[in-house]
Symmetry: C2
Subunit: 148 residues, 2 copies
DNA sequence: CGTTCATCAACAACGATTGCTAACAAGCAA
DNA sequence: TTGCTTGTTAGCAATCGTTGTTGATGAACG
């Protein structure tokens, strides 16, 4: 079972409960995240939002995404693709990252053997484990047969 | 057996073979990388270099680190710690990243079970697998006992 | 020694993100 | 409804890490 980002209605309640106001801009962001199958950057969310509300600033999008991440309703990923990616899937999972187009795909597989051996952790306390498989997605592999 | 960055002498030969000149600045960078136990950022390398050669510009450091990375003699890591880190250990391995101080520690352990199941890779071709354990190093765990 | 290339300084510029602030508008009370 | 209060927004400046540009200088290599 996958723990996804809450529905726009639930996020609305949550924001009100935190004393935050629920604006049309925020509601649009809630909706976009809830419907998103990808791992959008702030820019990408902004591009979506401005299709409905052309005047929303990128600043506002960052603000709301940060608020959601701070509440734990959204996961911020830094995968070395330039911009941070926001993940509406809250359950811990891993990722395939395409070096060609930057596409991020979920890998919902548990690797129970992956942990730091007690003899090697030297006092380090692990709070999260991220596995990133880098390579090329089907589309990018087809586009560049041999050499770039 | 660990495949480390080549010695200053070897890198000197390599640069000459590529038609690149070997300057005191570059030699200092070669030496620093060869002696480094950490995963320095370009800034950190620059700070070291300027202890010997105070006039070396950060631009030159970036240039040389990029040259080395392009030759495959140095690995550039993006671990979400702000600046890129340069890794003198060339053998594939994994990392512990401290969320407190940004320290990066090697984990030279092989996890043979970590791979993308054939039923799930959907045409994705994996070229590298990175495992990052995030958490707190001993020093940072001690510094922040309960709450920040 | 002469050619070539690297370096330097001093910038500007970049992309991603955050800080600042004046103007605005949502929420609430009367 | 009206008006007040306060959170929110848009717009812009600024930040950080990194790269591009310039032209003058100097060093490396053959
Ligand atoms: Mn994901
Ligand atoms: Mn390493
Ligand atoms: Zn791709
Ligand atoms: Zn630490």
């Amino acid at each position: 079972m996958v723990d996804d980002v809450k529905s726009p209605a639930e996020l609305t309640d949550l924001f009100r409960a935190q004393g935050l106001k629920v604006t049309p801009q925020r509601q649009a962001i809630f909706r976009i995240l809830h419907e998103s199958e990808v791992h959008p950057s702030a820019e990408a969310v902004h591009a979506e939002v401005t299709r409905e509300l052309p005047m929303v600033s990128l600043r506002t999008v960052y603000q709301t995404l940060n608020d959601l991440a701070a509440m734990g309703e959204l996961v911020q990923l830094d995968l070395g693709t330039g911009a941070a990616r926001f993940d509406p899937t809250l359950t811990p999972h891993h990722h395939l990252v395409c070096d060609g187009c930057g596409r991020v795909t979920d890998l919902e597989v548990d690797f129970p053997d992956v942990s730091v051996p007690a003899t090697l952790h030297r006092g380090f306390t692990v709070s999260s484990t991220q596995i990133v498989f880098r390579g090329r997605c089907d589309a990018c592999a087809a586009a560049v047969p041999v050499h770039p």
